[in-house]
Structures are given as structure tokens and as C-alpha cells.
Amino acid sequence: MPDTHFYRYDDYDRTLVAERVEQFRDQVRRRLAGELTEEQFKPLRLHNGLYLQLHAYMLRIAIPYGTLSSRQLRKLADISRKFDRGYGHFTTRQNLQLNWIRLEDAPDALAALAEVDMHAMQTSGNCIRNVTADHYAGAAIDEIEDPRIWAEIVRQWSTLHPEFTFLPRKFKIAITGSPNDRAAVRVHDIGLRLWRNPQGEVGFEVIVGGGLGRTPMIGKTLREFLPRDELLAYLEATLRVYNRYGRRDNLYKARIKILVHEVGVEKMREEVEAEYAATRDGALRLPVGTIEAIARQFAPPDLPPRPAISGPVEAQRSSDPDFALWLKSNVAPHRVPGYAIVTASLKPAGSPPGDASATQMEGIADIAEAYSQAELRVSHEQNLILPHVAVEDLPRVYRSLAALGFAEANVGKITDIIACPGLDYCALANARSIPVAQRISTHFASLARQHDIGDLKIKISGCINACGHHHVGHIGILGVDRNGVELYQISLGGDVDFGRTALGTILGPAVTADKVVETVDAIVATYLDAREDGERFVDTYRRIGAQPFKEQVYGPL
């Protein structure tokens, strides 16, 4: 296995995962033999990430904090080819979903995952789910500290945590180590933001009670500054308060955001701090040695500084407009001079957002090995990231990505759409998401036009559960079912940027599926007419309000 610059399983992890695979193998055998009813079996399969969707079982594979080695990605490709239909869907929770798994094959798929230190535990159920983090982690120029160190500590603490396996509802934690939040920490059950206080110490702002879904809420600050070594004890206190007071009588009011909303953040803080006071100096205070041992596994790769300007890159920038646009939108600065972070767009025009074939997964694993220290990240925006690319290699990486169809220069643009699987796959959905995303992306395919429009995030959900994050889309699209007809509710002004996090406001009556593209077109036209120099779509919306957009879409009111 190529040396990785992130956590490697120890014997304890390997034993735990291997035992879990064999337990599940026996559970599947008993179910197929009729020894277990579906009622008995369902929670067991869900605890192993195996859902039953419209057409087939779906396996949701955890990708902790969105970090993958090329070897792991090759294995995912191999599993998708051997046990599925040769493709997978990267999700807004940095996971991978395989949509066509056979129940009888699921234990073998899990065993194959275990070979590369992966599993599907806690990707379902009312437990602490896969912890997500900034997809630029370990490479970002603005990073105060690598959030994955803490995500890994949380992963170890929360894996099969007996007290938190049957919470009132699922629980999602996101961590960012940068002031520019790329992990959407204000819309998670708990968001953790590493920052440096005036004394120069690094600690966490603990944000609680955010979330999307049926009742979207922006998280509130529970603790302004938490010393790092107190993280687990504080999380345990918070989860304990939620477990004690969170509602279990109503599925739709069971998330921690409802508890925080009902009792108020001050009361929540009082309860958490009281619980914390009783436990803070217990076994969960992290010893320095433990933190350092995990931090060592995330030691950055040895990247000798290189020239930040490359002649061939500049020459191609001048001669190849698409490459120039790609540099602008898909390449971000790295903390080491002479390197860059490259986003491979899984959103080529007209394609299902976030989908990659086994061949594409292998192709990008090749690129990661050749040019990015054999490492990748999955973003919650459903793209793949090459975190450590030398600037002089950018033309080669661009060419290789283009051969895979992943070099679309659209990151952050109107066709970089987040979309849930929707009614084509999902048992919960009311309307389709992917075909809507495909039509929008085909309509706005021109790269020059996309770059003229500028940063504009469209997020599409096929039901109110909001897996497609529509509440925080600059343009949010929610599919609803009205008497058997798919309609799409449009909202404007959502945002996940830190300090500007906002929930979108519904523009007006929902539109039919065939009107979605022209509605988006009208919204974009309104923005282009009204924007002032340097204004992004969402800035213009904030300045002029909804009325001009309404008039353009629905006519004079």
C-alpha cells in the first residue's frame, strides 16, 4: 500500500471491522434462510449501511472525513464492478453509494472494503454518522489546523459507542480547520470550527442545532472556545443532554435542532455545561500523547517547495481558453508554494451529479498516484479533490482529467449542481432530482457563459429531507408531489459560507418539471441585468431582494 498521510487502521480497528463483517455475513445467511424476519433483519442491515431503495439494495460506504487513498478508490471501483453495475454515486456526506447491490453479495462487498480499512457502519440509523470535514483539509492555504486529526478522534470515540447507538435521531458532525468554511458547519447537528483566540491558542467553536431537512435551522454557538483536549468530554456531555431530552415521540421533531430551538441555546448550554462539569476531568480528557500519535499519522507529505509560476502553464493559459477557465475555477492555492489543489468536477454537462464509473474511479486513482501523493478527497459538493498537485504538473493533470470527462471548468458555477438521487432511486423521494440537474447543466453548458454568470450554487432535493441541501443553495430547488405530478419549489438566497450562512426564501408557487430550466434562466437573467461590479448572484439577491426575480418569473404582481 502506498504510504498515506492520514490515519491507518491499527489491529483494534481491523479486528472490529472484520468481526462486524462476519457478524453481518451470519445475519444475512439467517435472513435468507428465513430464520430472521424483515422486521428483525432491517435494523441489522441498516447498521451496516444497507438500505432497500426503489429498485434494489443500496450500500452506503463511509469515507471518513472524505479522505481516500488511491488504493481505496481502486477498491471502490473494483467493488462497484464486481458487486454492482460498475458505477457509484458520491454523496453530500462525502460517502459513496452503490445502488444495485445484491443482499447475498453484501457481506463479500463489506469484506472487500475491510481489506482497505473501510466499512459501511454508521451510515444509517440513529447514531453518530460518518464525520465530515473540509475537503481541502491538509492542503488549504487558510488552514489553522488539519481538521481530520479531530475527525479521526471523533470517529474512534463514536464508532459503536454503546450510549449513542440509539439516539432520538441521526446525528451529524462536521469539522473545519479554516476560517473559510467549506464543511457547512452551521448546518450540522454539531459543527466544530477550529480557530485561534486572542491568546494564540487553538480551540473549537462548538456550534449546535443546525440542520436542513423538514425544519431547516442555522446552528447556534454553544461554546465560543473549547480547548482541543476537552473535545470528546464536551461532545459526550452534549450528546448525553440530547439523548436525555431529545424527543422520541415525533420523528419529525427528534433532531437536536428542535431541542435547541424549543429550550433555547442558553438553557441547552446550561445543561451541557452542568453535565460537562461532572465529567470533564474523566477518561475522555485527551492525553497529549494520544493527540500527537494521531496527528503524526496526518503529517503532511514531503513537498519540496517548487516554483509557483510555470512557463508551460502560463503558455497554455494564454493559448487554451478552456484551460485558463479551469485554472480559475478548479484550481485552488496550496499551503506549500509551487503546489495546487485541483478539483475534478464530477459534473460534466448533462451528467448525473456525483456519479463516477469504475473506469473513471480507476483513472482518477492513477492521476492521484502520478501527481497527488496517491491521495484524494470527496467534497460534500460531490466532486473529487486532488490535494497536492505540483503547479508544473497542472497541464498534464488537466489533460488526464479531460480524458475521463472530469475536467469541466465549472467548480462553484451554475452547473456544479448538488443533487440527491431523487425519485429515480430513493424510496423517500417525491420527485426526480437528477434529470432536472441534467437539463439545467445541459442548458448552461457553455463555459464562457458559466464564468460570465460567476459563482452560483444550485442545489436540488427530491424531497423535504433535503439531502441535496436545497435550503442553502443560492438557487434551491425542491421537488414535491402534488396529486401525482412532480412540481419544483424554487428558493433563493441560501448560503453556507461562514458568517453569511442563510436559508433560502421560497420565491413563489412551484413550477412544473418542464418549466424549471426557463425559471432558472429567468432568475439568472434578472441577476445579470441587476448586478453591480464584483457581485455574485447571492450578493445581488441580498441587495435587491426577491421582488425583481418574482416579477421576471411570474410576471408583474
Binding site: E38, L52, Q53, A56, R102, R432, I434, G484, E486
Partner: protein
């Protein structure tokens, strides 16, 4: 599980235990992957009986339920709801490398 639109005609559907594939109960009490082979209940009492029969034959499937359908003059049946149309006919777009059937 599924939402049914109102309709007089019903078929019984489920997902096959071994692979999750969509199946319907046929006249012989077997689960088939072909909607056109499904047994059709033509009145509420018939639908109740069909569902009871489906539940009795549920060893190899998961969670049987009734699906409202319409039938044309040639006897071709089609689900009323989009959701059930998609269950019957597959994805409505070309998935990468998928051999799912396009719903027209």
C-alpha cells in the same frame, strides 16, 4: 411503503429479498419481474385478497403492498403513480454504465 393514487385496479408488488429487484405477484402466486404478468385485482375485495395472498407468499420478498394500475384495451397495465412507473421501468435517465431500462 409506496403512495398509491386512487384506482380500481390493483396489483401486488414487493422487492425480491435476495437482490431487492422489483417483483409483482402473478396469478399462480409466484413473484415475477414482469409487470404484465401480474395478477390484477378489479375491486376492493379482490385487492384485499390479493394483498393477503402476497403476504402469505412473502418468504422470498420484502414488504408486499398494493399498486394502483390502469389497463388499456389490449390489457396492458401501467402503474398510475410516477414512483411506481419508475419502479416498473427503471431509471428515467442514462446512468453511467448501468443497464437500467429507460422509462419512456
Amino acid at each position: 411503503m409506496a403512495k398509491n393514487l386512487s384506482g380500481d385496479l390493483q396489483v401486488a408488488s414487493a422487492n425480491r429479498l435476495v437482490d431487492g429487484m422489483v417483483v409483482w405477484l402473478d396469478e399462480a402466486g409466484q413473484w415475477t419481474d414482469r409487470l404484465q404478468h401480474a395478477a390484477v385485482a378489479r375491486d376492493p375485495r379482490g385487492a384485499e385478497i390479493l394483498l393477503e395472498r402476497a403476504r402469505a407468499e412473502a418468504f422470498t420478498v420484502v414488504d408486499p403492498f398494493l399498486v394502483a394500475v390502469i389497463e388499456d384495451e389490449e390489457g396492458t397495465i401501467e402503474p398510475l403513480s410516477l414512483r411506481e412507473k419508475i419502479r416498473a421501468s427503471g431509471l428515467t435517465f442514462e446512468a453511467i454504465a448501468a443497464d437500467a431500462v429507460r422509462y419512456a
